[in-house]
Point group: C2
Chain length 562, copies 2
């Protein structure tokens, strides 16, 4: 009986950057080697980044990925790391082109002694939610089990594990010492509730421990949370990597190659490994960390030197500012207060207080001298006059961005995005929308929690209490509040959850106890603001029904409940 | 031997509007009845509109579609039209829910004497280009052949016809008198080059005439061109409906039920039918008509009372203004001239001339009094100062829209959209982008042709010659021209065609004879402007590689050639 050490390396690659991602892989193998690992596993498409979308149709890129693994194998050997088996996700050219033009497989390669010794192609291609894999990939047709150092190891890629048919069913009938699944599985608030029971169930079916390694990092609207884990053959969660950060999780596996039975044992190393049935994390911390990682990676991977945003004194911009400071450091954040003649005193003082709390740069640009000429030349009244104020603020922020190169944040939350409570080309201006998938009620909860975390650490709570407690207002006319035009946010968010996340109809929501007029109006607003969402900035997805590629609906549609 | 008349009714439904679409269907059946038709065929998903995207996950909608066909059958009988066999596309609930949550089939029903007498579910679901049908539908499993009035009729839906395997292969081995395929096939400039030879080939394979009925109308970014047609058993194109307009095409078919051989004959009625191998249309007319239909249906189906756009005196805004006038009538179009201190005299006079030529409303809003306070307060210079001019124009147009309810057009062309030659929240402001898929060189060609059509009709050519002939300029600084920052448009468009439509790499394009530096810069510009495209307005697709759902690429990507 042999015992070997597996390292599950959750890395943060950049889409398209094969050379850079290969360096991350080499560094991790090197580190794992120092910790006596015999096998190092990387996530799905670790070499190419994920998702690459239609870049999968680019034959040159596919071939660069293939030569990239070959070169990676050689480089590892050159560096004296050839005796470690490396399992790495990449893409490779398929034998056939599909009717739709797909030319590639979503694959893994096993590298050993300078060569690619095994290849496995993902068999189940997800084509729902945010995934379009049947569009861009061809499915694999064969299973793969490799024996490394006496340990018989079944290999799977992500969606393969989620389906009862095909490779999992066949894997369950094989004798494996361990099953390794490599993943690019994005964070969702409730995903652990699905992932962990699934891992337990499959481990029991396989009769072997299950090793799960997942990507980490932000990629446009997706945040990969890592959270690599090991489950015993009896389905017990044995060890787990940190979330939202690159990390290597080690586990030792006993092999029984050529023996019947399941004499496998998985246990943990002391160093750097978090163990436990469940982490005792407040869910709000996970959401916060996901938003920070999504924002940080969008800013850094796209080369922005900093972040600029408007500070209104309200809760959304306050939370966005703290997210920005947590993501790229307060020294790289510029807050702009843009008071109008309708802005309250507390708006200005709360914005200033926030900037002082987090220590970011802060400027004040009053908008009245800029809005007045427009109002007068264009004879603006009512909604048109309100909107011009928001649009001038957008112009100011974009000018600041043009001057500094900073990324502009748009601070709207999911509730506002849902019902179109925004001024197009006004407060919607920006390259990234940190709260796009965060309902207003959760924005408040995040603010409370972030302040609480600061207090626990002995720091000043960053978000002024008044920004949390005062009634929300766009302040585009005197004494305006959001509730002049919207139901209270607790009601609105509950209705939106049923309407959007659960795809219920107006009738169904009314049956659940909500007022028909209110529900109908909300559904109507959601429908007619689709054109706004189509032109909205991307933002990190934290739900299982985020606006964007996950919810594809027509603009032109004559029906209220979608 | 029996002879019966088929009517191919290309209608223009609205997505989601089952009741309204049913009325269109009933009206067409009634008209066909007066013309002695025994069978009336409607396009794919004529009852629901197409594409419905994720609305296919809405169980209530799916069931409304099913009860909608039942009610349609009953209504037709009530109106004395029950003896006509009606073939209509709709969606219906499938027995199983797919792993991805799909609950519906893309189906057709045959209605007769008040009942649904046959159902066929589409077997091949396109999941490439603009189509996501494997996401939202489940495939059918059985073929369908019905006999109506002695005519044995094979039934197919759209993609079924395009694939060599499955239903077409089996249909070829059956004895059918005719094959009817119902479609929702969007216009592309070169699609006839594919559709017509495909129809000929399949008709020969089937050994029977092929009847093809296609949707017509604009739906968001897609334009369905109708172009329903009949091919003889020997593959000859026999008759063809008009393009870009609702129409009924009649054809008589001889039935040989229970007989061997192919004693089928298809011929045309005199009235309302255009016959010929190929229409002698200038391709620019098709493109123009597609753009007009796409714009008209977007405006009308979304209830806009009119259209507002900026008139710069340049070619793009001139072409957009004429498209708008052709789409909704010049009386419903407002042109806004927004001269700056850098605007040339000809810009102002050409804009005025255009407005006079087409007879639309016209106002002048100088921007200097609005830009100056911004320049001075924000200390703007260089690019920031240039952009503010464009953004103030966006603010003006949106204010006009807020005041009138008009749809704002953004006038950028495909070449500009490709390389990001635009000011975000400036000239990109608008709900619809008529030229989004039209390269600059084609914009000029369309302008010339539209003027030529006007001259032939004895009308004033609408587009001032100077707008066509002068060098393009954004006029954001003195003596600026587009070619200060871009290669000449003939070169740019040729490179973009290779890079985007043909997905060639930089190396491949250089091999085709273009300068490495130029190609690299263009590829770089295309990559870094993806974030702009994500926030861009939709516009009618006329190519087989339009920006939007057809070309899905990450914003965050570290690679030049995508």
């Amino acid at each position: 009986m042999s015992r070997i050490r597996f390292a599950l390396a959750q890395i943060n690659p950049i889409v398209g950057d094969i050379a850079g991602n290969a360096r991350l892989i080499i560094d991790a193998v090197s580190e794992a080697s120092e910790n006596s690992a015999s096998v190092v596993a990387f996530p799905e498409m670790a070499l190419t980044g994920y998702p690459i979308e239609d870049l999968a149709f680019n034959l040159d890129f596919v071939r660069e990925s293939m030569s990239g693994v070959d070169e990676l194998a050689r480089t590892l050997r050159t560096k004296g790391l050839g005796d470690i088996a490396v399992v790495v996700g990449y893409i490779r050219e398929s034998d056939e082109t599909s009717h739709g033009g797909a030319i590639a497989h979503n694959s893994l390669a096993v590298l050993f002694e300078g060569d690619v010794v095994e290849i496995y192609d993902k068999q189940h291609l997800p084509n729902y939610s945010v995934f379009d894999e049947q569009r861009v990939f061809n499915p694999g047709k064969t299973d793969s089990v490799v024996t490394v150092g006496g340990v018989t190891t079944g290999l799977l890629i992500c969606e393969d594990l989620w389906r009862d048919d095909g490779p999992t069913a066949r894997m369950a009938s094989l004798e494996t010492d361990v099953v390794l699944v490599i993943n690019a599985s994005p964070y969702e608030r409730t995903k652990d509730d699905m992932r962990m029971p699934l891992m337990a169930r499959r481990a029991i079916e396989f009769g072997s421990p299950l090793l799960y390694v997942n990507l980490v990092g932000g990629q446009d609207d997706l945040v990969f949370d890592g959270d690599s884990a090991v489950t015993s053959a009896s389905g017990e969660l044995i060890s787990r990597a940190p979330r939202f950060a690159p990390s290597i999780l080690y586990t030792d596996v006993d092999g029984t190659s050529n023996q019947a039975g399941l004499a496998v044992r998985t246990h943990d190393l002391a160093s750097g490994v978090e163990v436990g049935d469940l982490r005792d994390n407040d869910e709000r911390d996970d959401v916060w960390d996901a938003l920070v990682l999504g924002l940080r990676d969008y800013a850094l991977k796209n080369g922005f030197p900093g972040i600029v945003l408007g500070l209104s004194g309200g809760i959304d911009s306050a939370v966005c500012a703290v997210l920005a400071a947590d993501a790229v450091g307060a020294a790289n954040v510029l807050g702009v207060s843009m008071p109008s003649k309708w802005s309250s005193e507390h708006s200005k003082s709360d914005a200033l207080q926030l900037a002082e709390n987090i220590g970011c740069a802060y400027v004040v640009e009053p908008i009245a001298p800029l809005v007045d000429p427009l109002e007068s030349q264009l004879e603006l009244t009512g909604l048109a006059a309100e909107n011009v104020q928001a649009r001038i603020r957008g112009v100011i922020l974009m000018a600041k961005s043009n001057q500094s190169g900073h990324l502009v944040l748009t601070t709207g939350n999911k509730s506002e995005v849902a019902v179109g409570y925004s001024t197009m080309y006004g407060d919607t201006v920006g390259g990234f929308a940190p709260l796009k998938d965060v309902p207003k009620t959760l924005v408040w909860a995040l603010a409370e929690r972030r302040n609480e975390r600061a207090r626990r650490r002995g720091e000043t709570p960053p978000i002024p209490q008044q920004s949390i407690s005062k009634p929300p207002s766009a302040e585009l006319r005197p004494d305006q509040t959001d509730q002049d035009s919207l139901p209270d946010y607790a009601t609105l968010d509950a209705i939106l959850e049923l309407l959007i996340d659960e795809r219920q109809t107006v009738a169904g929501i009314v049956n659940a106890g909500y007022d028909l007029d209110v529900v109908s109006r909300v559904a109507h607003l959601v429908r007619i603001s689709e054109w706004k969402r189509r032109q909205g900035a991307i933002g990190p997805r934290i739900s299982s029904m985020a606006f964007g590629r996950e919810r594809r609906l027509p603009i032109t549609v004559r029906r209220t409940s979608l």
